[in-house]
Symmetry: C2
Subunit: 418 residues, 2 copies
């Protein structure tokens, strides 16, 4: 890579074109003014995919689709047989989601391809843009099905019987979708790319709070999810003396206080969240007989995540006063550390753009988590206002998105040997 | 009153007949083996009332109904114009209630009347048995509508627009019911009785735990109900650093811990219950944006109830860390102290029966709370197994119920000047 080519490519990245394309995408499934409701493999998802396909020519790319309906735009390289450098993200949204989560990573990759095409610049390695199927998990849970199936993390077959709220299976939705896209060439799942870079809004407040324009993502923190059910005995709120109660809500409070102590982190890196609580019978004048709450624990260090996660059950039990508890681990994903060459390339690109930047782990899941199991991977973050995401008021500025696309362009060019 | 008459009456109380009548009542709306579902003013309530009316002759009583559908069985006295001594309770049940709550107080009063009739014994004061309408509040909230309307505590009109879950108003249900009971003489609401005594299962564990057969009820503790809404901001559980969160669930936990401290009572007389909590958005991987919980605070001392209840709002606010809170008082009922002559009469009756007994306040509401505003009032408690009530497994033994009926008989005879 010469610095001159990289500068030329960055200059060819057109922030206005990118913003215009984002707003065209935002119109597909627009809700509540600035929101988007675009469930995976529905009509709106298909309309968004067709809009993307319509821009392939301008990007000098050919289109194909794989068995998981991941959509691919490929721009050939100059070295025969060289592995492709991938970029991309997803086009589905949360039910009341925003205009940037996922879709910006797709449009930014397209913008880089379009800039390369405008410069008539071919890279030694091919560059492929991928729009992963069902990242959000809003219609079919869990999310990241497309990247999990592609990477071999989980066989596609495992997801086919998952059903949406209307009872439609993922397999049926996939069959219907692929039948409607029969005009597109089919490509096999899998492959060993040369690298993967995903651009995304941060979905958190750190860049904005720190006044940084670019997040150089070093990995994705690990997560462990638990469900805790505290089983006591319901009783009459007026008659039962407190010393004779087995109050499930009070013991849940004691457990949460003890868990706060267990998870205390002066560096504020660990994430501990009790987001869901249900109380039974949930009656004003009845002592709670049963309470269920969830725990979302995250940390970028596998050792910390393992040690603290393993201590949760004993901490809960030690806090109880008269009740019993059932602790179940619902989900576990160990931390991913991104490849040094990709992280360095992102950092160099931000420096070349003279953009303030910081190395940071990602707090949220992304498809890059699964690509990282297959090839050297990384991510580029840009700030989003107040850290808000998964919400119709989600916002990232045109200037920040343009800067992010320039960093992505330089990074892809570097990885593709341009 | 002569001791001989009282002894004779107590001997004439028939525990088997009382139990048999209770089991006949339990068959009307029987659910889940030993449970009862008999909503107020429904068909099953009417069937139970008709069963009671069918026993009026054996009790030497005449039947009437008032504008609130309270059902009255009157046994005349010997002194012209003397005010009646009242006894009774309610016949409606919780949706999945038991066979004893309320209905036993009605059947026990009937048993006393039947024993008087068997002895051909007339008291100077008339004795009236009342089955109050809608004590439970299970179909139309709040409960105790019948006794509140009769006592003048709240005008009947105030309840007419209250609707059940099917959208039927209390007024419409009352009109329909009274139309179906047109054969019964109508009596006016109100009056100034000579006294009121209500027999009831304890609905708490104290008698059983203390090995006592009879509770001499000294009053009904006061209650204050509050709703607390903690307003924070939802955020992504993976990305939002803890120091930047405004976590409504964590602040609700802090508030409850502070309220536990405020309400701590080494004597274990105060009742503090958080029975209901709802979390929004109640999502595993989202920080809670809003939490609402309720407070049920009870104490027999008006001063304590006033002081602690008044400190709740400041205690909640003082515990918050970044959120705001809205504290609303939903309901307030000051403590009731029962009349010394009635309490003494119950205690003497228990002593005459050589039953272990204890003076105690009632933790639960009862219709006696409203009768107490009109005339000298009191209650007789018997133990219920494990203190369980408002539950299909609610149980009181035939022997305890027979003992309770004998205490009621002696008390009523004493008050009625027999």
């Amino acid at each position: 890579m010469t610095s001159g080519l990289s500068d030329a490519l960055a200059r060819a990245v057109d922030g206005d074109r990118q913003w215009d394309r984002l707003m065209q995408m935002a119109a597909i499934g627009a809700v509540e003014g600035t929101g988007v409701d675009r469930p995976c493999l529905g009509e709106r998802d298909r309309a968004a995919r067709r809009l993307l396909i319509g821009w392939a020519d301008a990007a000098g790319a050919t289109v194909s689709v794989d068995d998981a309906a991941n959509l691919w735009l490929r721009r050939e390289g100059t070295v025969p047989g060289a592995a492709a450098v991938l970029t991309g993200s997803h086009m589905d949204s949360q039910p009341r989601g925003g205009r940037f989560d996922g879709i910006w990573g797709v449009i930014a990759g397209l913008e880089v391809m379009t800039a390369l095409q405008a410069l008539d610049l071919r890279t030694p390695h091919p560059i492929e843009l991928v729009a992963w199927t069902n990242e959000e998990g809003g219609r079919f849970a869990p999310g990241c099905m497309g990247s999990m199936a592609w990477s071999g993390h989980t066989p596609l077959e495992r997801f086919l019987e998952v059903r949406d709220a209307a009872g439609i299976s993922f397999g049926a939705a996939l069959d219907e979708h692929l039948a409607l896209e029969q005009d597109l060439p089919r490509r096999p799942l899998g492959g060993v790319p040369h690298g993967y870079v995903e651009a995304h809004i941060e979905q958190g407040p750190l860049l904005e709070a720190g006044g940084r324009r670019i997040g150089v993502v070093t990995g994705i923190q690990g997560s462990r999810w638990f469900s805790v059910t505290v089983i006591g005995a319901s009783a009459h709120a007026g008659t039962a003396p407190l010393r004779l109660r087995r109050d499930a809500l009070q013991d849940a409070v004691r457990a949460i206080v003890a868990l706060n102590e267990l998870t205390r982190d002066p560096e504020d890196i660990l994430r501990f969240t009790v987001g869901r609580m249900t109380v039974s019978p949930n009656s004003l004048n009845s002592v709670a007989g049963q309470v269920t709450f969830t725990i979302d624990l995250r940390h970028p260090d596998a050792g910390v995540l393992g040690r603290i996660g393993d201590a949760i059950e004993a901490t809960v039990r030690g806090a109880l006063s008269g009740t019993t508890a059932r602790v179940t681990e619902l989900f576990s994903a160990m931390p991913v550390r991104f490849a040094g060459n990709v992280v360095d390339a992102v950092e160099r690109a931000a420096a070349a753009e003279a953009l303030s930047h910081v190395r940071m782990p990602s707090g949220a899941f992304h498809d890059a988590q699964f690509a990282a199991g297959v090839c050297p991977s990384g991510m580029v973050f840009v700030p989003c206002r107040d850290g808000v995401s998964h919400n119709v008021i989600e916002f990232a500025s045109p200037a920040d998105l343009a800067a992010g696309a320039r960093v992505l362009a330089r990074t892809l060019l570097s990885l593709a040997g341009g």
